[in-house]
């Protein structure tokens, strides 16, 4: 060791393995923290989903009176904020926490204590945000909290303060987690795990972490300015003092747009792991998938103002952002085509995980294809801020991110718990999801085309609207049933699931080379890494992968 003058010897905290509840409080183990993240975000998912159910109930018929207008505004704001910042983003960080060290053959993250801090900041930020309900007013100005609507005198209650403060707290945690993940991936890889051999999930986590690091600060700045305006009486967004409301929009969407890719890139990585395993084939076009991830991340930083086509930026700006947005379709298409090519002439196993992966591609592209339509500026002038956008965003968020996460859940659950989830319930879950998802969100395109704006607590009884909204609410209940089935499967399989063994899927990445669940030190010994599929090489010594 003496010759290792600058080489890093991590100083891991000693593992004294406390038990019971205290184990979860004191833990600095990346797997425990990953589980904490996943469980916490699952609870937030249910809360956000519950809010969505109330939204749908209120919209079931024209002039329904389930929620009063003020509560409706709070619910859609908290629904969007919860799903984006407290569910999918931290859920993906949780999966990354659990899986990245295992997949690259490391013992833990680079900074275990920082890792624990990230999680607790998420939890406290989330609780702070939800405390607003008790403090008299939840945030009620959309998940993007446009000024001046969220400033006095238009909003005098404390809601926006909780929004900004809560999200600032979680943001610090998110930034810390991203630093941790980047350093871990760059420095702690097992011998032989070259950058060009990283599992694609790890690739997307790496790129995603940089996206978080470089996109979150402007949002933090905007939130600081909003807080100062509300608490100290500054004039950042005070039009009469010379303030400019478009500045807030720019600052928000400079994060807001990358944020939506932050919620999908790791999911692209997840299905890039599941599809090859269940098609029994190597991933098609590894290099192109990895490169397109980088391309998407770069483009994602330069398209934010496509959320502002109607704000009156000017035609030149519109043109630029339109072109940049359309370009994203190209690398995303590359990914889609590569997944399809991976399935092609495979021997596809219809496991729940694979069904969700296939469903992911199928549903994601519906939302994806409306993307370039929205980037078509004049079309956006029509459909902006209408239910067409709500349809787009749920197809990419639910049909994309959440479906992909379900695929990942069925795939990695046996690694995390040691038991398989019920395939039977899994299929129930899948088909209910497919039916519910499309019944809920497809008609929303039409709502938008019938002139129904977003963020309305009710709508006039014009032709078609009542029928569409009714069926959407029915769809939402089917979707909720699907979620209940899933949650039951997650909970019950901990006890009743079939014992999984180390490698239930006959997979090829390093995490399957250790026990399920892995021991605290992760690996007894790390298999040699000589290609992108180290375990394939072990199992098929006669036909190893090209290096």
């Amino acid at each position: 060791m003496a010759e290792q003058t600058r080489g890093y010897v991590p100083t891991y905290p000693t593992i004294t393995a406390p038990t019971g509840l205290w184990r979860w409080v004191a833990t600095v183990d990346h797997k425990d923290i990953g589980v904490l993240y996943i469980v916490t975000t699952l609870v937030f998912f249910l809360i956000g989903g519950l809010e969505a159910m109330f939204i749908r109930l209120q919209l079931i018929a024209p002039n329904a009176k389930v929620l009063d207008p003020e509560t409706y505004d709070e619910f859609f704001t908290m629904h969007g904020t919860t799903m984006v910042f407290l569910t999918v983003m931290p859920l993906l960080i949780g999966f990354a926490n659990y899986l990245v060290p295992l997949m690259i053959g490391a013992r833990d993250m680079a900074f275990p204590r920082l890792n624990a801090m990230s999680y607790w900041l998420l939890l406290f930020g989330g609780l702070l945000l939800y405390f607003s309900f008790l403090a008299g007013q939840a945030p009620n100005g959309m998940w993007f909290m446009y000024v001046p609507q969220t400033l006095p005198p238009y909003t005098t209650g404390p809601g926006p303060n909780y929004w900004a403060a809560g999200l600032l707290v979680t943001s610090v945690g998110t930034i810390a987690a991203s630093i941790n993940l980047t350093v871990t991936i760059l420095l702690l890889r097992a011998p032989g795990m070259a950058i060009t051999r990283l599992p694609l999930f790890v690739w997307t986590v790496l790129v995603n972490s940089f996206l978080i690091l470089w996109a979150l600060p402007p949002l933090a700045a905007a939130m600081v300015m909003m807080l100062l305006d509300r608490l100290v009486g500054t004039h950042f967004f005070d039009v009469s003092a010379g303030g400019n409301v478009l500045l807030y929009e720019h600052l928000f969407w400079f994060l807001g747009h990358p944020e939506v890719y932050i919620l999908i890139l790791p999911v692209f990585g997840m299905v890039s792991e599941t599809i090859p395993v269940f098609a029994r084939k190597p991933i098609f076009g590894y290099t192109f998938i990895a490169a397109s991830t980088v391309a998407i991340a770069f483009l994602a930083m330069s398209v934010w103002a496509h959320h502002m086509f109607t704000s009156g930026m000017g035609l030149t700006e519109d043109t630029f952002f339109s072109a940049a947005s359309m370009l994203i379709a190209i690398p995303t298409g590359v990914k889609v085509f590569n997944w399809v090519a991976t399935m092609w002439r495979g021997a596809i196993r219809w496991t729940s995980s694979m069904l969700f992966s296939i469903g992911f591609i199928g549903e994601f592209i519906i939302g994806g294809l409306t993307g370039p339509m929205l980037a078509t500026v004049p079309v956006d002038w029509q459909v902006h801020d209408s239910y067409f956008i709500v349809a787009h965003l749920h197809y990419v968020f639910f049909g994309g991110s959440v479906m992909g996460i379900f695929a990942a859940a069925y795939y990695w659950y046996p690694k995390i718990t040691g038991r398989l989830m019920s395939e039977n319930l899994g299929k129930w879950h899948f088909w209910l999801t497919i039916v519910g998802l499309n019944l809920t969100f497809f008609p929303m395109h039409l709502n938008g085309l019938l002139g129904m704006p977003r963020h309305v607590y009710t709508y006039p009884n014009l032709p078609g609207l009542a029928e569409l909204n009714f069926w959407e609410t029915i769809g939402a209940f089917i979707l909720a049933t699907a979620v209940v089935v899933f949650v039951w499967n997650v909970v019950a399989s901990v006890r009743f699931g079939r014992i999984a063994g180390n490698d239930p899927w006959d997979a090829w990445t390093l995490e399957w080379a250790t026990a399920s669940p892995p021991p605290p030190y992760n690996f007894a010994s790390i298999p040699p890494v000589r290609s992108r599929r180290p375990l394939w090489d072990l199992k098929h010594p006669e036909n190893p992968d090209p290096r």
């Binding site: 207008p69 085509f337 596809i348 296939i358 078509t376 019950a492």
Partner: protein
């Protein structure tokens, strides 16, 4: 491998039965799958309770097919009203909205074709390349030539879309020569329309001449709103401290509905817009009528209403030309009786509704910035009569 196989066997066993049947008529197939679904739902439930493996792939497929058919039918039924409905960008009533609709159709069809292509390939592959005994997965890793193809083809298509985008965008934003200019100001939660040349101010109901270019200067008095009448033009935000222009030419007389499209607070829902497009002669007559000061009430009830109006604080928020009322916090009431709705679309303008509004606007439109004046029912009736007389 073991544990996986145990799990996959039941799926595989019934594989062969899912091949194409003798293609019965669509309806018959639909009914058959429906029956099959009902039947197997029972079996599913049984197995689900016992936490057993999924019974059979055949039933899976029928569920899939059934939901597919439902979706297709639903889609077709759903699309129909969208094409001709009032308030739809797909029934344009101006050349500007028409060129957006054309562009929209183009992108929709292009996206639809890509969708069918990709989705078809996925489904084909999922079924045709499914694991079955004796089937080995091919072990190929990639192919640079196809990567180039599927990078280049979308790029070409997008180039076309981008060209059309830029062209349409400039076409429909070109400022017209000698337009009818109207200032549009968004308020929480109503629209103020003023015609500077004609010296007319009105609210929520925009009158325009057919066939003449219209130029709207859109801004806001408080928070961000967005002016959207789908059949006439795309939307533009009404930003405080900033003016955005919208231009269009209405091609047919009629009433076109729209709504504020940017969340602007608790009553964003009821911030509707009615555009009444009339032939030029009728429009000129309307302008002329609007230029008149308010007509004097004639019925006794309305005269009583007028005195109540003056004894209340109404005039500090509302203007009635020809009287001392000159407030600007609320819509001008000079010709309120001639408008079709009350409270930016929340009620039709009938005497009974007007009474309801005046008795307690908070009840009709919770959160509205007009206070409850706590009128007695009789006063409200009189006041409503006065309002309705202001034509």
């Amino acid at each position: 491998m073991g544990s996986y196989d145990r799990l996959a066997t039941p799926l595989r066993k019934t594989q062969t039965t899912s091949g194409p049947a003798a293609a019965p008529p669509q309806l018959c197939r639909f009914a058959r799958s429906a029956l099959r679904v009902a039947f197997c739902a029972l079996r599913f439930a049984r197995c689900a309770l016992r936490f057993r493996p999924f019974p059979s792939a055949r039933h899976l497929n029928s569920i899939g097919r059934l939901s597919g058919s439902i979706l297709a039918v639903g889609l077709a039924l759903g699309l129909l009203p969208a094409l001709a409905a009032p308030r739809s960008p797909f029934s344009p009533a101006s050349p500007q909205a028409a060129s957006i609709a054309d562009l929209f159709w183009f992108t929709l069809i292009a996206a639809g074709l890509i969708f069918l292509g990709v989705e078809g390939t996925i489904l084909y592959s999922a079924f045709a390349h499914r694991e079955r005994p004796g089937r080995e997965a091919s072990q190929f890793h990639g192919n640079t030539r196809v990567e180039i193809i599927w990078t280049a083809l979308p790029a070409l298509l997008l180039l076309v879309v981008f060209y059309l985008t830029v062209r349409t965008m400039h076409d429909i934003s070109a400022p017209p020569g000698d337009p009818v200019e109207i200032n549009v100001v968004g308020h929480q939660w109503w629209w103020e329309f003023s015609y500077p040349k004609e010296d007319v101010t009105t609210a929520n109901e925009l009158h325009v001449p057919v066939g003449e270019p219209i130029l709207l200067h859109v801004t806001s008095a408080d928070v961000i709103h967005s002016f959207w009448v789908p059949q006439l033009a795309g939307k533009q935000d009404a930003n405080p401290g900033h003016v955005n222009d919208i231009t269009f030419t209405v091609s047919a007389p009629g009433t076109y509905l729209g709504q504020c499209a940017e969340f602007c607070g608790i009553e964003h829902t009821w911030m509707a817009i009615r555009v009444v497009a009339e032939p030029p002669a009728q429009y000129a007559a309307w302008v002329k009528a609007q230029q008149q000061p308010a007509s004097r009430p004639t019925s006794n009830l309305a005269i009583l209403g007028e005195t109540i109006f003056q004894s209340q604080t109404c005039g500090s928020c509302h203007a009635i030309a020809g009287t001392s009322a000159n407030g600007v916090a609320g819509p001008s009431l000079t010709h309120v009786g001639s408008r079709a709705t009350i409270g930016a679309g929340v009620l039709d303008n009938t005497p009974a509704n007007m009474e309801r509004w005046l008795l307690n606007p908070q009840d009709v439109k919770p959160g509205v910035l007009m206070p409850n004046s706590k009128l007695t029912p009789n006063d409200a009736k009189a006041l409503a009569a006065y309002m309705e007389s202001l034509r």
